[in-house]
Structures are given as structure tokens and as C-alpha cells.
Subunit: 504 residues, 2 copies
């Protein structure tokens, strides 16, 4: 339910905004369309340097909109990242973390009975206060028990699944993952919704595309502002594409999936043009976490120049492709160096709807409209968590790792590698290594790949190391940012690290 303060603010806006969002008398807030990819990496789009250049529609979207090269997920794993997006809050606040293992990410496979707590206010729930109709298409992943159903958390419609499309299990003890239309289970993956693991053929992206197009058309007829959360999963292993796209990519099956998604995004934007609602529809494209390098190259994508991938708190695990598109409002062809987060989509969407974020709790998301509409840059930190453990923080161009970990030696020896081909001594560690007293620091502008730690520069008296890394004020920058983190009221983890950062 929407807090009272938010509703009041929207009513206030209705009164005040005669020259506001709508020009037709009643101010109608803009439609909000979030295109959330699954395990797609920063490096998977042509506009981010993918050598095959197979995403003409997304590249065009970027050329017509604003590109964010420094945009982050809130967790390197699907469920907590999605929960953070929809609540505007870090997983440690919204409940999507575990305490049963240090730096262990929480998520919701079939066996898990948990899900998004009832006390969390989800974006669609709040948007109701401004009259929005909301639909989720695709993967929910915030719990599959009845109490976690998306229609219990603010969505008016759902077509998709509560989980990943793993399988087929084909047995009663472990049934295949269900697919829902609203409250009704309409089938299961591999049964009514086939996925051919041999050929990679599945029609799901087309089905999800049609669901999106149909919903937008209906809301346009009804003249209701809409929130569409298009959370498709064709790039999550096992990757799939429909027959016309299979075999069309230079990148193999993963690329086929990307091509079909790119084509679908083109069709979605085309519909907005056909409906003549581009100037009243805010569209944002991003992904839930970095490319899954454990599935690459056949079933996983690319994190471009960044280190490691999904599951890790290196840049490859959490830096995401991100494009904002709103012709006539967001200037075309812009690049914003604002540090952004999927949690900002919560706060930004509320701002678009004229709503204030809930005032009874800490919200981590930032309103990106000043960045998007006026090119304004706001200093803010990016926090990198695994489970309940703050692993790293980025402030400005500096990133400090308090803990490093890729995956365990045990997994690694079995051939599971979160950082294939990448090995930065003392950084890509297979044991959990603590650096809280002396964080491992990187300058992400000079060294986006996190290959050259500046550590020595913070060591008082360490002349050799300091002269090797030069005399830049790394420590000053961190202290400056560090003091700002306090203003963000992020509590224990930051104030805990703060003294260490500034102690020299």
C-alpha cells in the first residue's frame, strides 16, 4: 500500500501542474517502461563495444537517448538485484540476503520458501497512488509461494514465471517451473511452453514481446498511465531464441538470443512511435547482473573490459548496460557519467509519477531525472554486496574493496570459475580475503578492469609502493567520498569502514 505522504504529494502535483506532464487538461504522468535483461553483460551491446555489433535497435535507442556507462545492479545475483530495483533499497534492507554464510547471495530457486517481505513497498504498489496500471512480463523471482505473488505486491497483471527456466525436471517430485497469467497457472516450461535444449529453440521472447505490445495498446485505449516491467530471460542459461533468429548471430546461440531481444526492443519502441506516445513514455533498458561467465561463451555473454562476472562484486559482476530513452525530454545522443543503480529506477519512476518515495524507511535509490533531463551529476556511492557482506564501494572514480572473493577453491577445482582467463594477483582470490583495514583501491577511470591496485598509496611510509603508483590523491578522494557516505545514512557498514579509509 502506498504511504499517505506519497499520495498527498501526487494530489498536490495534480493541483500545481497545469503546465505539467500532460497538455490535455488533466495531467497524465508518463508511462514507465523498464526493460530488464537477465544475465546480459555490459559488453553485449554494440554501443558498449561488442565486436559483432548485432544490436542496431539498442544502439539506436542509445543514439536517441542517454547512455549510462557507470550504471550498476544492487547485487550480482538475480533475485536480490530485482528486489532492490522494485523496492529502491539494498538487499540488506529489503530482506534479500542470507545470514547463513558470509558473503553468500540469497535468491529463490524452487526449493526456497522465502520471498519479498510483505512490509516492503514495491514500485507498482506505490504507482497505484498515481493511477498507474502495472504489468510484469517475464521473471518475477521474488518468491513463488502464494503470499509472494506479484499481484499481491502491486502488479495488476502478470505473464511469466516465478523462477528461472531451468529444467526440464519432468517429474512429480520436482515439477517443471510454472508459467502464470495473472493468478492462473497456464502451463509449465518445457511442457506448454517448450524450450528445446538441443537446438536452443523457444518462442518465449516472442510471447513476452506480444504480451508487452498488447498491454501497452490496451492502456493507451484506456488512457491510463502504465508501468510495464519487461523482465525477460532469453539470455539466461539455457539461452534460447525463436527459429527465425537461431543461427543468425556471429556470436552463437547467446548472440541469437541477444539479436531477438534487440529486435523486440525495436518493435516495442516502434509501437510507442505508432501510438504517438513517445513523448509521454519513459523507457529504461538495463540488466539484473553481469554476464554469467560460468556459462560463457556458449550460454553466457560479455562484460567487455571489466573483471569477472555474475556472482562477484568486481565490475563485471555488477556494471550494467543502461540506456534511458524519452524523446523530446531526455536529450538525444548523450552520455551521462552519473553513477547509477537499478535502485534509482524505483525513485526515478516515483518522481516521474509525481510521487515521493516512502518516508518511513531508508531508500537507497536516487532520482536520476536531474541527470537525465539537465545533465546534472550527483555525488553518491555505489555499494557492492554479496549476501549481507559489504564487499566494496565506489565513490567518484575510486573503488575500494573491503573483501575480495571470486568463488571457493572447492568449486574452482571442479571447473567452476567466475573469472575465466582473468587472474589479478591478490584481487581475484578464491578464499574470502579481508581488506577492511587497508582496502584494495582502484581508479576505475584509468583502470576499469581492476588490474592495478593502488593499495600502496594508502600505506603510510610505504615509499616504494607509493612511488610505484604515483602521487595522486587517491586517499583524499576516498576520504572526501567517505565523508559523503555518512550523509547517505547508510549506517554501520559505511561508518565502520570510514575510519580505515581516512586513517593515514
Amino acid at each position: 500500500m502506498a504511504p499517505v505522504a506519497a499520495v498527498t504529494r501526487w494530489r498536490l502535483l495534480l493541483v500545481l501542474s497545469a503546465a505539467g506532464f500532460g497538455a490535455m487538461g488533466t495531467p497524465k504522468p508518463p508511462n514507465i517502461l523498464l526493460l530488464l535483461m537477465d544475465d546480459m553483460g555490459w559488453g553485449d551491446l554494440g554501443v558498449y563495444g561488442e565486436p559483432s555489433r548485432e544490436t542496431p535497435n539498442l544502439d539506436r535507442m542509445a543514439a536517441e537517448g542517454m547512455l549510462f556507462p557507470n550504471f550498476y545492479s544492487a547485487n550480482p545475483l538475480c533475485s536480490p538485484s530485482r528486489a532492490a530495483l522494485l523496492t529502491g533499497r539494498l538487499p540488506i534492507r529489503n530482506g534479500f540476503y542470507t545470514t547463513n554464510g558470509h558473503a553468500r547471495n540469497a535468491y529463490t530457486p524452487q526449493e526456497i520458501v522465502g520471498g519479498i517481505p510483505d512490509g516492503e513497498h514495491l514500485l507498482p504498489e506505490l504507482l497505484k497512488g498515481a493511477g498507474y496500471a502495472s504489468k510484469i512480463v517475464g521473471k518475477w523471482h521474488l518468491g513463488h509461494r502464494p503470499q509472494f505473488h506479484p499481484l499481491k505486491h502491486g502488479f495488476d497483471e502478470w505473464f511469466g514465471s516465478p523462477n528461472c527456466h531451468f529444467g526440464p525436471y519432468d517429474n512429480r517430485a520436482r515439477p517443471n517451473i510454472p508459467v502464470y497469467r495473472d493468478w492462473e497457472m497456464v502451463g509449465r516450461y518445457y511442457e506448454e511452453f517448450p524450450i528445446n535444449l538441443q537446438t536452443g529453440e523457444a518462442n518465449l521472447t516472442q510471447v513476452y514481446l506480444q504480451e508487452a505490445l498488447d498491454f501497452m495498446k490496451r492502456q493507451q485505449v484506456a488512457q491510463r498511465p502504465f508501468f510495464l516491467y519487461w523482465a525477460i530471460d532469453g539470455t539466461h542459461a539455457p539461452v534460447y531464441a525463436s527459429r527465425p533468429f537461431l543461427g543468425t548471430s556471429r556470436r552463437g546461440r547467446y548472440g541469437d538470443a541477444v539479436r531477438e531481444i534487440d529486435d523486440s526492443v525495436g518493435k516495442i519502441l516502434s509501437l510507442l512511435r505508432d501510438l504517438r506516445i513517445t513523448e509521454n513514455t519513459f523507457v529504461f533498458f538495463t540488466s539484473d547482473n553481469g554476464a554469467a561467465l560460468i556459462s560463457a561463451p556458449k550460454q553466457g555473454g560479455s562484460n567487455g573490459p571489466f573483471l569477472c562476472g555474475k556472482q562477484t562484486t568486481f565490475e563485471g559482476g555488477m556494471r550494467e548496460p543502461a540506456i534511458a530513452w524519452w524523446p523530446g525530454r531526455i536529450p538525444a545522443g548523450q552520455v551521462s557519467h552519473q553513477l547509477g543503480s537499478v535502485m534509482d529506477l524505483f525513485t526515478t519512476s516515483l518522481a516521474l509519477a509525481g510521487l515521493a518515495p516512502p518516508s518511513d524507511r531508508v531508500i537507497d535509490g536516487l532520482d536520476l531525472l536531474p541527470a537525465m533531463l539537465r545533465g546534472q551529476l550527483t555525488d553518491r556511492p555505489i555499494f557492492y554486496y554479496r549476501g549481507n557482506t559489504l564487499m566494496a564501494v565506489t565513490l567518484g572514480q575510486y573503488k575500494a574493496h573491503f573483501w575480495t572473493w571470486t568463488n571457493s577453491w572447492e568449486e574452482f577445482r571442479q571447473g567452476i570459475d567466475f573469472c575465466p582467463g582473468q587472474n589479478v594477483s591478490g584481487v581475484t582470490t578464491h578464499t574470502q580475503e579481508e581488506h577492511t583495514k587497508l582496502p584494495l583501491i582502484f581508479h576505475l577511470g584509468r583502470d576499469p578492469g581492476e588490474r592495478y591496485p593502488l593499495r600502496g598509496a594508502l600505506l603510510p611510509g610505504s615509499q616504494t609502493a607509493a612511488s610505484r603508483t604515483g602521487s595522486e590523491p587517491q586517499s583524499m578522494a576516498i576520504c572526501h567520498g567517505g565523508s559523503r557516505t555518512l550523509k547517505w545514512e547508510l549506517g554501520a557498514p559505511c561508518s565502520y569502514h570510514q575510519p580505515q579509509l581516512c586513517q593515514h
Copy 2:
């Protein structure tokens, strides 16, 4: 001197091309402008995914022209790469290789008395046959003894240096590197042409820019077709920029150098627009080899998602940024997947001038005009040499390594690392490892980073490895390409490898 055949062909063209290149009566072949960077990496441009996006002019050049994501140098080191560009021939043919060490690259520091052999026909020499005025601005690097002077090899003008701007040496035994205007030595680096190693300040890119602008204006007045080879070196360590650019990049001093170069390219293209000769000027931007990761991140660039850097025959050592620009001729906003090489700039330039390449020797460069003007793709191999050793070959999307080597254990233990942060087991080897009987094969479309060797698929009977890497016809593709290499008349190295490639 230009061979007779070439001159004849141009005269023939003069007769035949009433509706040819020029519309003013006498057909005037297009001006040719080669912008050759020094140690700039594939990942250094915004259009190739550099996260800071600080190359608006080059990105615009790409948007107005054609981008080549699969363009290669002919050697991972400066001198042989430049010699190959200007001769259209692999270093093993044009003489820029050594026999005094296996896989040892040749180049020309001050101490070396060698240089480009007199028997080689350089591009400016041949372009004389079509009436071109030629100038080299910047680094020659094909020998500093009098007989190797660029004006003895076809250039009409030179402003620049025979060598890298290493130093200062400041002593008589080893004087600072000279700077020439044509035949005359007009000063030396660090003396008349200062470079401040503390601040990184040097005015050289501005000087080289003015040289370029001045030359183009003069040729336009004289109505002579020109060939300008703008071989600047601001991104070669020690990197430098002029004061207005220092401290302006998010990437540090290396980024400052890139920003100044980007700005200069913008000014060069602007002059072409002002002179109204864009439709008669072919411009190509590329680099001599991959980013020097031994100098990164402060003095070296980025190879984006690719493995290793300068000096190596992994993609990071030889894949280059490449943009062709010729408004009205080359369609705007295109991406070509043609495998290209700096040697193609030789053959393409001759084709632009209406000249045939010399017929008395093997030429490795391809005429890229069919790719640029008509989007045609030509199947051709890319060869990766270190010194006189064929290390690898790419055919279509497959790359086979016959030898792997990064740098020696001895160097590596001293902290010299050609692949910092990257370590692909059995691939980034510190000993020279031979794989000629069973090449290490990568699919560059699925795996541009060369992290997942397909080796097992070629092993007959190796079921485990084969099933792990899937059942794609890697071997077929290589055999197919392999047989084509014979048509390229590349002699011993290829026919030697051919049987191994197809033996299973």
C-alpha cells in the same frame, strides 16, 4: 620508383574515366589521409566501448563512416607494422623481421643500423605515378640512417622523427632523438621540442596538427592530390598532451593524450569540410599495434575485451580501432565485418589512385574498396607474426595459434607483464609453446577474449573434450580457410601448417 605497369594503368584510367573521380574535366584521384596512432588500443575509443566516452570526434567519424571491428596490424610492434602498412607486405617479406631469435620482433631503436630495404616500393613512391604529393607527419620508424630517410622512399615532405620520443638522454654518446623538417634536422626531443616527463606536457600533437592542416591547405591551393600519413605518437609512453588537455580526462594522462588527438582529428575533418573536399578525400583512422599494457594504466591504453596487448599475437596485440570516412562515397553509419589489415591501406590507396599494386612481388594487402563502397565481404586470412615466426592465423571467425608466448619468465619475474590480470591456462604461456600439430583454436565471434580454447574438438577420439566444447565444425572451417590460404600464395608457413590443420 613506381613500376611501369602501375603508371600505365593510371594513364589508362585517365583516358577511360571521363565520369570518374573528378567532375571538373581532368579526373583527379581522391586525396588519401591515413591517421595512424601509436600504441592506441581497440578499446580506447568511445565507439569501441571505452567507458569514459571521451572521443566525440572519432565517434562522429565512425557514425559518418564505416567502422571495422575486425581490423588488424601486421605485427604487434611499431616498426614492422608501419613497414607493412607502407609496403602492403608482411614483415617477413619486406625485411622487417629478425632471424637472431625465435619469435623476436624487429624494430629500429637508435642503436639499430637497419631499415626499410631499398628494393621495397613504398606507397608514396607508387602514388607519385598518379601525381600525388606525399607528406609524413610524425614517426617514421623505418630506419634512421641516411639511406632510409622518408624522402628517399617517396615522401615529398616530412615533419617528425625517425624514432620514438624516448629520453631525455642529454649526452653526446647517446644524443636525444632528432626531429626533421624534410632533409634538415630542426631540433631534438626534450631540447627544441620539449616534453615534460613530470607534468606530461608537450606541444607536439598541436605541432603535428598544424603540419597536417598546412599541408592539406597547400595541396588544395596547388590542386594536387595528396597523400598525408599522419603518424603521431602522443599515446606512446611517455604519453603527453598540451596544457589545455592536461588533466581533462577521466582516464588520467593517457586519456588526456587521447582527448587531444580526438580534438585534432575533429579539426582535420573540419578543414576538409571547410575546403569542401570531403567527397574527394579518403580518410582512414587506425593504430600500429595494440595498447601497451606494460605501460598501463597510466601510460598505456585499453584493448577492450581482448587478450593481452602490444608485443603479443593475441587479439589485444594486433586488433586495432579502424574507421573509414569518405562522405558521399562510403555510406554513413556502417559496420563492416571484413577482416582487414593495415597492409590493405597500401592496396586500397593504390586502387583509389587508379594504380595497380606492383606485379613483381607478392602483395599481402587487399583492396578494401569493395567492402567500403558496396559492403562486399572477401574471405581472407589474417596472419599473426612475431619476428619471423608465424604464431597464429585467423580465418573467418576461427583463430588458430601455432605458437603461444607472452613474455619470458625472466622478464615476467622482473615485473614486465604483457598480459596483466589475464591468465588463460595453456594460452598465455611464458615459455614459447608449439602447437603446430594441434593448433589452439578459438571462435572469435563467441569468444573474442580467447579464453575458451576449442582444442579438444580437433582431437580424434577425444570424446570428453569434444563433448565439452560441442560439435561445431571448427575443423571444417579451418580446413576450408586453410585451403584458401594456398590461393593467397603465402608460401612456406601456410602450406607447412595446412596438413596439420586438416589431418584428422
